[in-house]
Symmetry: C2
Subunit: 186 residues, 2 copies
């Protein structure tokens, strides 16, 4: 999945508000969506999670891809430092501006992008310190879905195109079946 | 969110493979994505879940929308009966045909659509009895993300448009803030 980042040096996803036991499966989905939809970094704020890290590393090993991974970072300091080093911060929230209204502007900017994905309660700091507060529908649903649709719009659906030449284990699409080729068997 | 179903009588989401304790949060996300992205039914196969139902009903009550809800149904019988009554079955799986190759055909058909969303292991029956096995990327990630992107493609992004006239509590999009209007305060 490398290469999608395109003109940007980096598209990282910062997961905030992770509650260790309760959120481990949801946070794992966030990490796997980050990879599959073309981000090149996943950063878990606050505590680390063995379970999330194990799942992400297993997928990277089996299915390929390069991805920066970090955990236990202080979220606010990370956001501040991202902006200070010239990057922009996009906070996904149902209260924000509809994605269709801002995605062209975000796509056009060559600045490294930090996509901030919260859990239920998000501190005011993130609304105030985001360059963009972006809504993927203005309805309550799922940060996993919001991240997928945001990245899909950012890359104009390129991540959905099947790439038969990517290295490693990969699916051979089929109308009725499970076909896999290449890479190690995991 | 009513009205999106368009020319189809029904777009229902059937969640299979739900494991009661382990999956309750992921299944709740599936249900909320079904609602927010325009499906008009959510069916939980196997056991019921108080937690999933409570979350879905609370969102429907606070944020509006009409949605058929059922749980505890036998999944295979449900799929068979959907097809026998003239509907079509779309199974989301990373092993299927890329969504971009089949979405126009699926959209063009006026048949009621049952979108089947599995958990980790899906029985062969669902591959064989689906009209379409559809992949949202051919990479492992999240059934929540797959459902959101599939419905987004089905409705050509119409569910992302902000609808200021929908009844009930709703968000007023803003660049920096949380503004809500109408409906009951929940």
């Amino acid at each position: 999945m490398s290469g999608l980042a395109g003109p940007y040096r980096k598209v990282y996803v910062l997961r905030i508000g992770h509650r260790p036991q309760r959120d481990k499966r949801v946070t794992t989905h966030v990490a796997l969506v980050a990879r599959a939809f073309g981000a090149n970094g996943f950063v878990l704020a606050g505590s680390c999670s063995d379970s999330v890290e194990r799942s992400l590393r297993r997928v990277l090993e089996c299915w390929g891809g390069e991805m920066h991974y970090e955990c236990g970072v202080p979220a606010k300091a990370y956001v501040r430092s991202w902006r200070e080093s010239g990057g922009e911060v996009i906070h996904l929230t149902m209260y924000g501006v509809p994605v269709e209204r801002v995605i062209d502007e975000i796509r056009a900017s060559p600045r490294p992008k930090l996509v901030v994905v919260g859990a239920e309660k998000v501190e005011w700091f993130f609304y105030e310190n985001a360059d963009y507060n972006v809504a993927v529908t203005s309805e309550p649903h799922s940060e996993i879905a919001a991240l997928a649709v945001f990245l899909d719009r950012l890359y104009r659906g390129r991540e959905l195109l099947y790439n038969p030449s990517r290295p490693g284990k990969r699916v051979v699409p089929s109308a009725r079946g499970k076909r896999v080729t290449g890479g190690v068997e995991c």
